[in-house]
Point group: D2
Chain length 372, copies 4
């Protein structure tokens, strides 16, 4: 199951940075789900590099659905989505192929694949593959939205600059869904961009923290032990390249609190059971409690920098100096946020289908076109 | 796979706080592994409550291996370990059964299991179940040790008090393996205990941060995407009750760095490829690079406190006041550290068996007793 | 997943013929299912050896449910069932330990487990383990019955003697459920018993064919490709020791027919879509069509016979003669039939839970005892 | 895991009969395996329809490997293979869309997918999808061959005409690998072709039995219970459309034997342990014993026949007459034999990788091109 994730609804990804196409197979979706290609394209566009704060490699991401959709709706059989790699520069990698870029997977790929790995542009390790995850996950997001489940991620922090906290989740998520730079506070956004541009100018890079909120989830989702909501989400979220930490609710800050502060009191509100605080991020004992699910991913600075670095030639076993060339991002938080949304959507769709059955996520439209 | 984890080597757990036994089935272990019951007992004893900083419930943890071991060695077929629950107080739960203890799973269990859950002492959600994980994981630890892979966890922080950082990993891990209170700095240990005792006296509780180091792992373990080392470990680690965050290497601190700082330079050292820093915690692109694997778990304060709390009667839908009685831990970091070790061991055994085959973890002793 | 089967509802088995206990962990069951221990015991009694046609080893099968059941109902968490081995004769195996019993797993176990296997009484390969499958599967059968899904298996053929075909499935299944020798035609039953007794007298053994019918399954269960109803059921059914063939509907006989005969015509009957024949065993394209699901398992004669046989000492690598002693069955079809029922029930419960959600198999009783 | 099979090496299939492409993702292959596209093409050509005994739809099967192969060798990351559908006739299905073709999946697909299924040419149920399995499995076959593991399938029986039994397995398998009509006895081949042509002339169809032999497998492969060699192979083999029975060794014939006949005696031969007969098909207790693994698949006659048939309009719920038009096979055994080979190869590769590690199937060539 190396490149396949999920149980009832699974996603399988494939491809390399410089291959002809990358793609994903999304299996287990209920039949009858309307596929809105514009919606998918709009999510892909949120991942696309823009301006000085991103790589110069730009991809149209003209995806193609080759199976599992008929007359505009899912058939219930596997949906394969292909995205061509268009803007690949076939430059010569031979000069640096044996030099391990610090913070990258060159050396570990070599250890694992014994030198047979496709090293061009990071190969299968490239962040490019996340486009396939976004295409598949966008379908998941659209399905969840129809169930009233909304997902939104903002850059909570970048280069030491904090965004404002979530306030009105519904409004904030809506705002984020339309924003190409997912920061809630405009002033913070300006400062973060400036920090990214400065890092780019310095030949350096910056990281940040992504914070995701999910509203509308029913209580009772997740398992007490191995398949806790935290365990499943973190498993998937660590697939996002550069994520090195995941925390739920107040996360690491909880470790400094007393129980009397950390505990979220329950209360009745409009006949519904709620918690009056949400330090636990909507999850108790691995299971959703009906409050918004909140988590944060720590994203390390992109390892591709233009400064000279010390490294080794891993084939010759010699110390070397490395200067990386090519097209790279001085930060990826602003592009990774939609990947976080989409991976979250895939995990949640899977859990809902497991709990409520494979047809649960289907639409109930009457005006459909089943008989062709 | 709700209570089963792993692929080549799987662990399945079962049991409730007040049932007759809890247990684990460990399947896929190589045949011929010597089972040292004293070693298992010693790991279980590190989990056992002690003194004023733990619950008054004490369990002898007299485990019993009912299958998969013959003449003192694994047979290669499933190992079932049973641990009786001996010190269960059959007190009356009826007064508070309907009241959701804040921070606990009472309400979410009710949502998920519709009231059929065994609510006595937390039922299947009880930290008691981790004893089964420790028993199974102790076998994993002993197997890894023979391969030169050592795992150790210390309380890096508790109630705001920091332990000293890891220094000489081999020595530190050895020291931790013999310590019932896993703190490297003696002064810090005294202060942490004091903070726990104070919390206990206040009817309150404290949390902390567990930091784990793994040495001796080969490079090349883990997968680029879904089954990254971070993804698999975090998935398992979030099974530890109260863990709300997991970070690798410098984790969240990485998000504040520049790439030029965060990148770990490679260098040759005694003919071996190493990194000169370890901000990435021994993992690049989801795959081990041969450096120590380092991660931290955020442990929230135990939710069972003796102060009056606001909550609801989740069956009646009414606001209520709750005062928890019974026997509880004012902190669990000092007990959870061995759970972190053992869960880590299970994940690593599984990955090694997947990569190198099911016999890889077997011993190669000549003086064995195969012919009975 | 060596000893674990299923996705939404999983069963994990463990134990050896001469260990203290064997058992099963059944995970994923809906909460609130009434557990009728007498019903389980009645199914176990159908597996128990009887008279001259079975081994002299008799086991009371006094099972014990150690988790997952509270106040007589499932909690939704793993159900662990233990069955002690009581009648184990600790005879000396050293004389024959190195001799491969023909038709048995002694030699293959040695190849796989390198001599560490528990060889006493077949160890983990022993048919004894099926008692655990029956205990777990009996819960599955009881759940399905409440959904109107009935499973019954008869000995369609033994030692060349055919039973009559299924006629009225509901009645036949009911009759079989109460019969300790599952043959529909009384005369055939007498002849089969006689053949078994004769084989026993000759120090030999006989095999047979088990035919199973499932009624009441909804249409639409199963998948087009890998998880076809045939694929999943056969996967599980080949777990029954001695099963060497599985066929659905007319199975191998279909291979001799023309399409115009083999095709089952559809027709309307009482407003329902039915097929007028059932050559395909209720399955088209891997998916149930609402007709009874019918399949047959070929059971080879039990390999333990008392005649002298040629074999090898697999440790010394020498040709040898072997005379098997001990207690053995001259046939197992009459004991295996309930194993077929129970394994079928587990597969179907899993598929129903996947399709309709984890709560689907729960009961909807009003008079329950949820609040303790 | 609906369209994904395997654990260490997995295959995921997708596509529909009339979509733009079908395909497979093969994940978990060792890095460094030479990909011989001609070899794959040659296996695909064995599946291609020929002459009067096959459908008139002919596909060039010009596959395209879009990922996981670099410089002619596997990289160790997922291999996605795409095969375009070229010869799809976009005829009008509206006249018969609601009529369930007997023996086909139209009605069960409707029950499962609620009418959203792609019904053109059988959609995802089409035998066309097996081309993707063959392309993926051909890679598996080539890998196994280098390990000395050979797989060959012949039409053991068709329309009542038997082929001769396997004799010299190595020679027979070699002969089959080059034969477009996999029958060992030439006279039988002529008669079978005649029977197929007669069936075609009658607007009818015939079935048959495929017999597969695998040589060179090591002893010790497979598991005692759920993942027995028989269970895993049958699970996969029932994916071949029209397979309704699978038996190992003498299979159903074993059920008529006495134990003294059915047991395969062990003997020493040239210092190796062998069995002197192979009634058990090379498998004891679910585990290979080093003898050839032999099994048979019952293939029902193709359900598409030109005779008028009774059926229903499953949307209207009315009785109807149906005459099928279009291009169909009067038999598929001669095309399915390579599918059986390829599916077997995939299962065996997976089992070998699980047992011996992910690098086991890699080649050890020195003259490779790892450094690009």
């Amino acid at each position: 199951m190396k490149n396949t994730f999920g149980k009832s609804i699974t996603v399988t990804i494939f491809g390399e940075s410089h291959g002809s196409e990358i793609g994903a197979v999304l299996d287990g979706l209920a039949p009858g789900i309307k596929i809105d290609e514009e919606y998918i394209a709009s999510k892909l566009s949120l991942r696309r590099p823009r301006g000085a704060i991103s790589t110069k490699r730009t991809e149209a991401d003209r995806f193609r659905i080759v199976s599992g959709v008929f007359n505009g709706r899912t058939t219930g059989t596997p949906v394969c989505i292909l995205i061509p790699n268009e803007d690949t520069k076939s430059r010569d990698y031979s000069a640096t192929r044996q030099l391990a870029r610090p913070g990258h997977a060159d050396y570990t790929a070599y250890c694992k694949y014994h030198g047979y790995e496709d090293y061009r542009g990071g190969g299968h390790f490239s962040g490019r593959i996340t486009a396939a995850l976004v295409a598949a996950g966008a379908i998941g997001m659209s399905v969840l939205e129809k169930k009233g489940i909304m997902i939104g991620t903002h850059i909570a922090r970048c280069a030491g600059i904090p965004d404002r906290a979530f306030r009105n989740l519904q409004q904030d998520i809506r705002a984020l869904s339309e924003s190409t730079f997912a920061v809630l506070d405009e002033e913070a956004a300006i400062q973060m961009r400036a920090a990214m541009e400065k890092a780019a100018g310095d030949g350096d890079s910056v990281g940040g923290i992504l914070e995701t909120a999910v509203t509308g989830l029913p209580a009772g989702l997740g398992e007490p032990w191995f398949d806790s909501m935290e365990g499943l989400l973190s498993h998937a979220l660590f697939s996002i390249p550069a994520v090195k930490g995941v925390e739920f609710g107040d996360g690491f800050a909880l470790s400094e609190m007393n129980g009397s502060t950390a505990n979220d009191s329950f209360a009745m509100q409009d006949g519904k059971i709620v918690t009056t605080t949400n330090h636990n991020g909507g999850i108790n004992g691995g299971i959703t409690n009906g409050m918004p699910v909140i988590f944060r991913c720590a994203v390390k600075p992109t390892p591709s920098i233009y400064k000279e670095q010390n490294t080794v030639d891993f084939m010759e076993g010699t110390d070397q100096k490395l200067v990386i060339r090519g097209r790279h991002d001085p930060a990826i938080v602003h592009r990774a946020r939609i990947v976080a949304d989409c991976i979250t959507a895939l995990v949640l769709c899977d859990l809902l289908a497991q709990r409520y059955g494979t047809d649960y996520l289907a639409e109930t439209a009457q005006d459909d076109n089943r008989t062709g």
